[in-house]
């Protein structure tokens, strides 16, 4: 799969403050790229750089393989974005705002507005003035605007912020649909990590402007999977026992000698008893199942270190 967004050593400084420090991420076509980080971690700054709202102090940014400033402007027509808050004219109706957006983007066909309204479920509100819209409706309108030019990439900065629980679920389902059915690559940031967990296929963890890690959902799943960490006096002998007595082959010996047993089929006591019965000393016994939130906190600590 080809990279639609690529950054190398991307740095953004505002005076003495470094908002983004040497960030290199790669977003491939078809990814749902989840950007995770605290407030001030640099998520919005990265999005602003991607969308051309701010200029990098250092580093390279490529969109669809192009990196020259004029080419980047051209390529941005292939991207739909909501950065911070969706932008619109409050005195105009939903429909007129979308029509204005359609004309500005040079999208042919007046029926496109009706189609996009239908897609985001705002047809009933097409005559509402934008200043009268609820937060959820504003987010949908922003999404409709982002979708107007049939973009190949959607960049969404906290699209579920301000939405009620059912709105969050609807937004997630909708984004999943766009990704699966239309093949739209989505770059999304969110503070709702549990929400992001159900959506993203790739994660990037930002902390204090630095990229701590970019990892695929599959790898993350393995790392966060249910497991038992057991510290024994003879790890090599214990792994033999694991395979022979319990017929368990999914394990890993960590550098500190801890044996990590993935997807355990028996209770913690059984694994402990296996060691004790063979005269092996058990110095550590821990059952772990990390959520994305826990993993993120661990990543954050790593970033801070």
């Amino acid at each position: 799969m080809d990279a639609v967004i690529e950054t190398k050593g991307l740095t953004k400084r505002y005076g003495a403050f470094t908002a983004l420090d040497d960030v290199g991420v790669t977003v491939r076509r078809g990814d749902v790229f989840g950007l995770v980080g605290d407030n001030g971690a640099g998520k919005s700054t990265l999005f602003k750089l991607l969308c051309g709202l701010a200029f990098p102090t250092q580093g390279e940014l490529r969109l669809f393989g192009s990196h020259a400033p004029r080419d980047l402007e051209r390529q941005r027509a292939r991207v739909g974005a909501i950065i911070e808050q969706p932008g619109f004219y409050p005195a105009l109706s939903v429909e007129k705002n979308l029509e204005c957006c359609r004309i500005q983007k040079g999208v042919p066909g007046k029926d496109r507005v009706a189609r996009v309204l239908d897609v985001v479920g705002l047809t009933y509100a097409k005559g509402f003035r934008c200043r009268e819209l609820s937060m959820g409706m504003k987010q949908r309108l922003g999404l409709a605007m982002a979708l107007m030019g049939e973009p190949e990439v959607l960049i969404l900065d906290e699209p579920t912020s301000g939405l009620d629980p059912s709105g969050i679920v609807e937004m997630r389902t909708f984004l999943q649909q766009l990704n699966r059915e239309k093949g739209i690559t989505i770059v999304v940031s969110s503070h709702h990590l549990a929400e992001l967990e159900q959506l993203a296929t790739v994660y990037a963890f930002l902390s204090r402007g630095r990229l701590v890690e970019q990892v695929s959902a599959r790898t993350l799943q393995t790392r966060c999977a249910d497991c038992i960490d057991i510290g024994v006096s003879d790890p090599a002998r214990y792994t033999v026992l694991l395979e022979r007595e319990l017929r368990h082959e999914r394990y890993q010996v960590l550098p500190d000698g801890t044996v990590r047993i993935f997807d355990p089929q028996a209770s913690v006591e059984t694994y402990s008893a296996l060691a004790s019965a063979q005269g092996l000393g058990v110095c550590k016994l821990e059952r772990r199942k990390m959520s994305l939130e826990q993993y993120y906190l661990e990543m954050k600590e790593k970033g801070a270190a």
Partner: protein, 257 residues
């Protein structure tokens, strides 16, 4: 850029701002002419109910057109940043230069269309309600507008540039008033003592269309009546236009949202 401009024309045509400005100005000019007309019933010897007097009022307040240029831009674009619409345009691939130039062209076009409507009402109501010849004062007014048009356009471009430069609209308005009105006035006053400053001040549109026009009412020619004066009006206007356009594009390319 063309698409951006089309979108802006669509938005302005469906918004209320431009209509409000035109209606307000039409009401003002109509009221002015109606007051002059009604005065003839109150005082049969009232000498000012003439087309000449009515249209001279605009000449006497010509710098108000500069102010209206600023008001127009403020009405059209003051909330562009706050609403996030400026961000939208850039994020969708519109270059900053196109955005700036597009805004200038749209503002000038809307301004000219509004001015045409107001002038038709102004001149038409004066011709219908008031006494005296029409062609001669209309000719003087149109000559003044032709001479002042580059300066009015420069005022529009400056307003768009400052609106892009300052995050706060109030700051942009203050800066615009300082550049268009305060600096020329200060230079004119300093010029009363220092000759080179007086020369510089005499090339600034606000002084040409303000002080010099008012002096012409006391006796003498309007600045644009003589070839050199007309050239001065046009050079001053086009120089300002070029200066503000270059500064505006330069700044627009650097501004971060």
């Amino acid at each position: 850029m063309l698409n951006y401009m089309k979108g802006e024309f669509y938005r302005i045509a469906r918004g209320t701002e431009a209509y409000l400005l035109v209606v307000a100005l039409v009401v003002v000019v109509l009221a002015a002419n109606i007051v002059l007309y009604v005065m003839t019933f109150v005082d049969p010897t009232f000498p000012y109910a003439t087309v000449h007097f009515s249209l001279s009022n605009l000449l006497g307040m010509f710098t108000m057109l500069f102010a209206l240029a600023g008001v127009l831009v403020a009405l059209l674009y003051a909330d562009d940043r706050k609403n996030g619409t400026c961000k939208n345009a850039i994020a969708h691939g519109c270059s900053r230069t196109s955005l700036f130039v597009g805004k200038c062209i749209v503002s000038v076009a809307v301004g000219l269309a509004s001015m045409a409507v107001v002038l038709v009402v102004y001149i038409g109501s004066a011709a219908l309600l008031l006494e005296g010849p029409v062609a001669e004062p209309v000719g003087v007014l149109l000559a003044a507008i032709a001479a002042g048009l580059p300066s009015i356009v420069a005022a529009v471009v400056l307003a768009v540039a400052l609106d892009g430069y300052f995050a706060k609209t109030t700051a942009a308005i203050v800066a615009w008033i300082v550049v268009v009105f305060v600096v020329p006035q200060v230079l004119a006053l300093v010029g009363l003592r220092i000759d080179p400053v007086a020369v510089l001040a005499s090339w600034l549109p606000t002084n040409i269309f303000g002080n010099e026009v008012n002096m012409a009412f006391l006796g003498g020619d309007f600045p644009w009546d003589k070839p050199f004066g007309l050239a001065r009006c046009l050079i001053a206007g086009f120089s300002g236009l070029a200066l503000f356009a270059v500064a505006g594009v330069w700044r627009a390319r650097k501004v971060e949202l």
